[in-house]
Symmetry: C2
Subunit: 249 residues, 2 copies
C-alpha cells in the first residue's frame, strides 16, 4: 500500500488550485456540483460525513439545508484550515483525516458523501467496507468520481493528446480500460496519482459491502455549462464524471 | 418505434453466421459463453426463459444442468428451426417470438437469461419492465450484451478504423458515449442495426423496474482465448462484452 498522496498541501499546487477554483469556471462548479446536488435525499436532521471535503463547500450546503450534524474530513491541512475559516455553522466540524483511516471515526451517519475524491484512493474495496461500517441501516452513500472512460488511458509518451479529430469529428482515445491500477498525470504542474478502476469493480465493491445500488449517472453536456465553456459539449463523447447513489442494507 | 430487425432470416447473412459459428473460434464461444456460464445460479428445478435463444445452445445447457422447464424464444425462424432440430429435451420448448412481445408469454420464471441479444432491442426500459413482470420474486436476470465502450462510436466515414496504433501501443476510438441511439454497422456483409446505451441507462432501467443489481462484469483478455485468438488481448483496452446479474425484488 502506498502512502496516501497529499497534493493539496504542496504550496505551489494549492495556489494554482485556488486560482482555478476562484474563477468558478471549471467542470467541478459547472457540471459536477449541480448534478450531485440533484441526487441528494432530504437532508433534514441527517448526520452526514463528507469524505475529502476540501474547502468544505458541500458540508456547509448540507448544514444550510437542514442537516443535524456534518463532519467533513480531508487529508490536506491547507484545505481543512480553509474550510474552518469559511465555516459559520456550529453543527459542522472539520478534521484532518485520510480516507484510508476513517474507521477512527466513532459514530454512525445517515449519509456518506464524497465529491471527486475516491479516484485518489488506492484500495477502493476497503473504502467501501469502511463506509458501509459507518452508515446506519438505510443510510445513503452518494459520491462522484472521475469516469472510468476518462481515467483509463495510459499514455505512451507524455505529450500525447487525449483525442484526435478526423474529418471534423472528435474521437477520444481509450486504452487499458480493464487495467485497474495507478495513473500518474500532470495536473496544475504537479505529478498527480489517481487510481483507475473499471465500472464493474466500482459497482461490485459497493454491492459486496452490503449496499444496494440506487442510481448511476454519467456527466452530460449540460446546456448552461456548454454556454460558458464550449468544450464541455464533448461530454457527449466521453463523460468526465461518474455519480453513484447506494443504500446500506 | 422501428420494426424489430431480423437479420438472421436473411439467407445470405444466416449462411455466413453459421460458417462463423461452426469454427468455434469466435468471441462468443471463447469469451462470452464461459464467462456468463460462471455467473449462473444453481439451475436445479428452475423455470428458465432464454431471450434471443438463437440455435438454443444455452437452453439445452440449462436442461442438461437440471432446469425443470426452459422456454427459448427468438425472432428468427431460421434460428428456431435449428434449435428445434438440435433439441432432445422434452422440457425445452422453442418458439418464434420477438423480444418486444414477450408479455404474450403467460407464465412466470425463476430466471430470465439472454446472451448477446439486448443490444438489438430499441426500447430497453420496456424490455426491463416486461422481464420484471415475467420473473418470480427473487427470480434472477442474467444477460450479456455488447459493452457500451464498444458500441458507442459513430463513424464519420464507412471505412474508419476502430483503433489507432501510436508508438507501438493501441488506442481505441471513443465518441458519442452518452448518445443513446441507433448504430448501423456492417457485419457479415449486412447492415446491422444495434442500439447503443450508456452504462447508467442500462443500470437505472433495471433498478427502476424493481430489480436489484447483484453483479456486473466486463470481458477480460482470458488466457485460453488469447492463446487461440491473439487479438483478444485487446480486451484489456476495450472490453467487447458487458454482463449483468440482477434479482427481482
Amino acid at each position: 500500500m502506498e502512502k496516501p498522496q497529499n497534493i493539496y498541501d504542496n504550496t505551489k499546487f494549492f495556489e494554482e488550485y485556488q486560482k482555478m477554483r476562484e474563477t468558478k469556471i471549471n467542470a467541478n462548479e459547472l457540471i459536477e456540483i449541480p448534478e450531485i446536488k440533484s441526487m441528494l435525499p432530504d437532508l433534514k436532521d441527517k448526520k452526514i460525513l463528507d469524505l475529502g471535503c476540501g474547502a468544505g463547500g458541500m458540508s456547509r450546503y448540507f448544514a444550510e439545508n437542514g442537516a443535524k450534524r456534518v463532519l467533513g474530513v480531508d487529508i490536506s491541512k491547507n484545505m481543512i484550515n480553509l474550510a474552518k475559516k469559511e465555516n459559520n455553522y456550529k453543527n459542522v466540524e472539520f478534521k484532518v483525516l485520510e480516507m484510508e483511516r476513517i474507521l477512527k471515526i466513532k459514530e454512525k451517519f445517515d449519509m456518506v458523501f464524497s465529491s471527486l475524491a475516491f479516484h485518489y484512493v488506492e484500495d477502493f474495496e476497503k473504502l467501501m467496507k469502511d463506509i458501509s461500517n459507518l452508515l446506519n441501516p438505510n443510510g445513503i452513500l452518494i459520491f462522484s468520481q472521475e469516469h472510468p472512460v476518462a481515467t483509463a488511458i495510459i499514455y505512451n509518451g507524455k505529450e500525447m493528446e487525449k483525442h484526435i479529430d478526423i474529418n471534423g469529428k472528435r474521437y477520444y482515445l481509450l486504452s487499458d480500460y480493464n487495467n485497474n491500477s495507478k495513473r500518474v498525470l500532470n495536473w496544475n504542474m504537479q505529478d498527480t496519482v489517481k487510481y483507475h478502476r473499471n465500472f464493474s469493480t466500482i459497482i461490485n465493491s459497493i454491492i459486496k459491502n452490503n449496499m444496494q445500488i440506487l442510481e448511476v449517472r454519467e456527466s452530460q453536456p449540460e446546456k448552461e455549462a456548454v454556454k460558458q465553456v464550449p468544450k464541455y459539449k464533448y461530454q457527449i463523447d466521453r463523460p468526465y464524471f461518474l455519480y453513484i447513489k447506494a443504500k446500506k442494507l
